[in-house]
Subunit: 206 residues, 2 copies
């Protein structure tokens, strides 16, 4: 297809498509003349991935290129692939965060997170530190309930990793990491409204 | 306590405390002379709340003042209070998002979300639209698993709302909304690493 057709199919303006080509996040089309190129479904799929990374993931164009570059040559194993996606897609937390409490939480849960990448643990440590800094007391058992809920969800997610191709596994892992976060948070709030209506709503007895 | 002691106790520089006083997010202390004021535990608690809203919640100082103003005179019922906190603390989604699919997801779940505030539903709609736009297929049953997990968590959270005072309920609701989101997301990723290690890790048989 022509660039105008690619633009329409992806819902991305032609000028933006050209910008992505110049920045090297979108691969070049097949030249049919000195000034004309043809694009195919691989360009459409890549454009959708770029839009997800930039729009939902909030990544910069440079960070998006770095994600795509590193995932273009994905690690052999799915376990390493997940680690790479996590490392690239999450917030960066400095090394000076104290991870003792986070480690003891994980030990209590019996989770195996013996990864070389310190970032997932640091992110938990930073989140726990923020709760403490605000002097916010989580009710007894709530942290365990969070962990249990996330563990069940993660089990389902990992069971869904496509095995037919590395490319499909990469796509699933990257998109599943960033697209699902807003989905989970939106569902949590709606679930709270539902739970609140049943517990405290105007037509509750008493 | 003096401003220097308040600063030390909260871990916030004196200049920042003065800035919050000028901006009206922190209430004035009790004047003991023309240039000296005394602060108490209410200032310390408020400073911690401000830091949570700005630091973890990512709110601007102006948005923080708006949250604090509106929650200073909280709605009568806990159900309305939760609604107010949700409205103030989440991302804004424009009215042009199509909420049909989100509504049918909620109807399928049987959740009661008959609120006047359109934002929670719009946020779910936007999250679902982003999944579709990236042409990302959630495996069968995964959306239900997300909803079920969040519903169980919300039930626990709502059970923990303090009943001893309105102020405690406000604090729990606001902080529980924003501080827990990074915690949940950090736990999800660690849970994925654990599930991945067990399913795909280097020492898994086969």
């Amino acid at each position: 297809m022509r660039i105008s057709e690619l633009s329409r199919a992806a819902g991305v303006p032609v000028a933006t498509v050209k910008y992505y080509l110049r920045e090297g996040v979108l691969h070049e089309g097949r030249l049919t003349s000195a000034t004309q190129a043809r694009y195919d479904d691989s360009h459409l799929a890549r454009l959708r991935l770029i839009r997800a990374l930039i729009g939902v993931g909030g990544l910069s164009v440079a960070a998006t290129r770095s994600v795509l570059d590193q995932l273009a040559d994905p690690p052999e194993s799915t376990h390493e692939l997940l680690g790479a996606a996590h490392h690239l897609l999450g917030p960066t937390v400095d090394a000076d965060v104290d991870t003792d409490r986070a480690e003891s939480v994980l030990a209590g849960l019996g989770w195996r997170v013996d990864t070389d990448d310190p970032m997932p643990l640091r992110r938990l440590a930073a989140a726990l530190a923020a709760v403490d800094a605000a002097d916010f007391q989580l009710p007894d058992g709530l942290l365990d309930a969070y962990a249990r809920g996330m563990r069940e969800i993660a089990e389902r997610e990992l069971a869904g990793v496509p095995t037919e191709s590395r490319e499909a596994a990469v796509r699933y892992t990257v998109l599943g990491t960033i697209l699902v976060e807003p989905l989970l948070l939106a569902l949590r709030r709606l679930a709270q409204i539902d739970a609140s209506a049943r517990r405290f709503g105007p037509d509750v007895e008493g």
